[in-house]
Subunit: 370 residues, 2 copies
């Protein structure tokens, strides 16, 4: 299945910070067909470094989508049955307006002048896209990690536009540890002299800082066990210590490679703005409790977490589940066994597929009940 990324431009968007972005572009892809009643649309929400290319093979890059194992004909998000949409988030660098986009006021990239954004801002822009596509009510909003935050925000911001929400390996708010790891990544980028307060587009990219930031991220996405299985203490091209600072261990060369690859596809300023949006996110902010914050949601919920995910541990998913159950809202929860750490939501296809398929089928039957 070859897919094209599409783009739509809106006049403007008002942000939580009080700023306005005008115009604002959104990159998105769709898979499957919207039915006549427009009742089979599912919005997929990507994680921190994801993009609109969630499934199929990109005509442009030839690469499969980041959740291609979950989205497609006969898959968990079955495109024979559902119309699936995925867009790049506000603040991103893959076709949606972000810090690397041209500021019409200056004719140059926004850089450090891009306004601060929130998860709610991302969702507000997605709502414009859904309106543009003529969809009044989504069958489901679904995503892992930061995608799960957006799913929660959708359920709260637009309760009448969401029949089901699937926050996966996610949280209602970042813990101090999650903020801390994001902050290390930001500091690594800002420590790079090439970052230049965000104004680097006409000079060198802050490649060294961004690479270090990505290395930290990668460790937190794996687990002690998955790293042991994948790398152990194997030396690379050597029998033992090299007594220098080249990559001795396989895990070192892997991280360096992933860091350097990331630099070719991700914008350092998007890294800063999007991680801040994640850290600021607190669906219960200004409310008496998480239960009070979620009680306006009218959707059904399927919450999934993974046993070895220490970055978004199961207790964070359980907080969401408890809050919903406390108000007698419709919520199913499953903690799936996995050694893959936070990456599990991207790679553990089997049980996740069964859970998602059953949940979507039931939701579809209910929504389309005669």
């Amino acid at each position: 299945m070859t897919v094209d990324t599409q783009q739509v431009t809106f006049d403007s968007i008002s942000l939580d910070s009080g700023a306005t972005l005008a115009p604002v572009e959104v990159a998105y892809e769709t898979y499957g067909q919207l039915n006549g009643k427009r009742s089979n649309a599912i919005l997929i929400l990507h994680a921190f470094s994801g993009d609109a290319h969630a499934a199929g093979v990109s005509r442009e890059g030839g690469q499969p989508g980041w959740w291609d194992n979950m989205i497609g004909p006969g898959k968990g998000f079955d495109t024979n049955k559902y119309f699936v949409i995925c867009s790049n988030v506000l603040g991103g660098c893959r076709g949606t307006t972000g810090p690397s986009s041209i500021d019409p006021a200056t004719g140059k990239p926004y850089g450090g002048n891009f306004p601060g954004i929130t998860i709610a801002d991302m969702v507000r822009l997605q709502k414009k896209l859904i309106d543009h596509l003529g969809i009044e009510k989504l069958l489901a909003v679904a995503g892992g990690s930061m995608g799960g935050m957006q799913a929660l925000q959708w359920a709260v911001s637009y309760p009448d536009a969401v029949a089901a929400a699937l926050p996966i390996a996610s949280t209602a708010r970042h813990s101090a540890m999650q903020i801390a790891f994001n902050e290390v990544g930001r500091q690594a980028i800002m420590a790079d002299p090439d970052w230049n307060n965000g104004n680097f587009y006409e000079a060198n990219l802050p490649a060294r800082g961004l690479s270090v930031a990505r290395m930290v991220g990668h460790i937190t996405y794996m687990s002690d066990e998955s790293m042991r299985q994948k790398f152990g203490r194997r030396f690379r091209d050597k029998d033992g210590p090299g007594f220098d600072f080249s990559a001795d261990f396989e895990v070192e060369s892997y991280l360096r490679y992933r860091g350097s690859q990331f630099v070719t596809r991700f914008d350092a300023n998007s890294y800063l703005y999007i991680t801040k949006a994640m850290d600021y996110f607190d669906i219960a902010a200004g409310k008496a409790s998480l239960a009070a914050a979620l009680e306006g949601a009218k959707s059904r919920f399927l919450v999934i977490s993974f046993t070895s995910d220490w970055l978004y541990p199961s207790y964070q998913s359980l907080e969401i589940v408890s809050a919903l159950r406390g108000r007698n809202q419709d919520v199913a929860y499953c903690e799936l066994p996995s050694n893959y750490g936070h990456d599990a939501f991207l790679v553990e296809v089997g049980e996740q597929t069964d859970l998602v398929r059953g949940f979507l089928d039931a939701t579809y039957r209910e929504v389309n009940r005669p």
Copy 2:
């Protein structure tokens, strides 16, 4: 108790890499009195960023030692009874020869020309110090984290010179995850243009890179729970998001502060060399098994780990315990409850004191049996 750091110079030391350092200096402190039989000496081994100042108040800096809550009159390592020694490790930057020391061949700091070092090299230099002090057999070698690696190495390298070994919150070898976190720190330092291949002593220190490295380290020394208790999601001097990249959250300003403080007291090259020594350390390297590697040890062992220590998890201590028990060696093990993560070995004084005191008393009775 005011203490002075002392220093001794040896002609040379041969390293595992094949290189020789000549001369080599050692900074050390002692607390308590060596008895007439020279049978009450305990060598304390410091962790990655520690130094010789383990206890008492430094005459020079006025600061308490890094393990002052465990070492002193009436404390776990009771200086009324024992003669306690602590030295700065080889490769360090607090008085013992390391990359910031003057290379006699050039009259300038070694910098990137410092030879690669191992935990066994550190121990070899400590043995010179113990010989210099006229001690044939240590009552105990004890340390947390990298100090525990040195304790294991002592027991294996000099079985006749050690009556008891106390590896605390430590491991027989680094896991892929431990190597990975160290590698991120190294990459952060080497990404700083001021690092200049290790030759920065006559110019700017690689302060930004070293600070980021330390921030990563600090997160791994804490636990999800201890960070929640200490910082939560509290904003600093603000009620909510600042929509910029200054420190919004308390955890951010804490990490930045600790990072910037570290730069004033630690050498970036020592960071590289010592973390590499930790990563290379594998007490079982070249042996059929961990049990085979440890079977030459003649000492008693007390192994301690902490429940919330996810950087040096209890399973790593249990590997040591199992290997020793499998060969019927004398080993006691205790996993202590704590929320402090890896930092627990530095702060959980109560139960640790009881365990250490009882173990040392029994060892002392056995060694001094009439």
